[in-house]
């Protein structure tokens, strides 16, 4: 962030606590948090612009417009009850994948790369569509998060969202 010259605060979650605790599967995942620190709109995959729309097919305008309505006019797209209902609760395998990832990350930082690679692999087996895990594992291991490994993942899982449990493409 220093090299990029950021002029706004950036919170770095090196231990993956936020995706672990809030069940985030994809990057980017957006969450609306109000001035009281409460979630006003739960996990969703949305984009700030249309730079990659040919890739994922999700236009940014509807979400940005809804966000402006909320910020400017205090109009939420749904109430607390609807937000609770549309949250995708984690499975035991997804939680297992997250535990494997934390073990892999610890082993990697400890210089035990072969052991780490085994646990990254196991994390991906338990939670194959969890991009927060699988894409994060790529640059840690010196691989391009927008390279062949990611496109192989994308060919199978597309853009995992939060409306329903992701399913592999045929």
């Amino acid at each position: 962030m220093t090299a990029a010259g950021s002029t706004h605060p950036v919170l770095l979650d090196s231990e993956h606590l936020v995706p672990d605790r809030y069940g985030m599967l994809n990057v980017p995942t957006i969450v609306w948090i109000d001035e009281r620190g409460r979630i006003a709109r739960a996990n969703d995959v949305q984009f700030g612009n249309d730079a990659f729309i040919d890739f994922h097919g999700i236009p940014s305008a509807p979400h940005l417009e809804a966000l402006r309505r909320w910020v400017n006019d205090d109009v939420r797209p749904s109430d607390d009850g609807a937000e609770r209902k549309r949250q995708l609760l984690p499975t035991a395998d997804e939680q297992g994948g997250r535990a494997c990832f934390s073990l892999a990350w610890y082993l990697w930082r400890s210089g035990r790369e072969d052991a780490a690679a085994r646990w990254f692999q196991r994390a991906g087996e338990l939670a194959p569509y969890d991009y927060a895990i699988r894409r994060a594992a790529l640059p840690i291991q010196g691989k391009d998060p927008m390279g062949p490994d990611f496109f192989e993942l994308y060919a199978k899982w597309g853009t995992p969202g939060y409306a329903e449990r992701p399913k592999p493409k045929a």
Partner: protein, 99 residues
Amino acid sequence: MMTDSSMLTILKDGDEQRVRASFEGERLWLSAVDFTRLTGWHLEDRGLCRENRCMSLLDRSTVTDGERIDVAGFATRMEMPWMVDRAEAAAALGESANT
């Protein structure tokens, strides 16, 4: 059953704790003090407790030998993911999907 006492790093909630642990098959025994420091839970007559919440234990031997606590048994009871790399002396205790 052979037991093997050694130092182990256990990861939980982004923290790392070095503890003395004894392996016994799939079981991993910690002192009650280390177990509470790691998990926030402790053993009472009525079961495993944390703050004002308790989980009953129909068979206490699945979790305790009377002095020590078996983290693997605890993880099973609480439906928490428990990943152990014995060769690397490291393990991770994750959050239950039902929390």
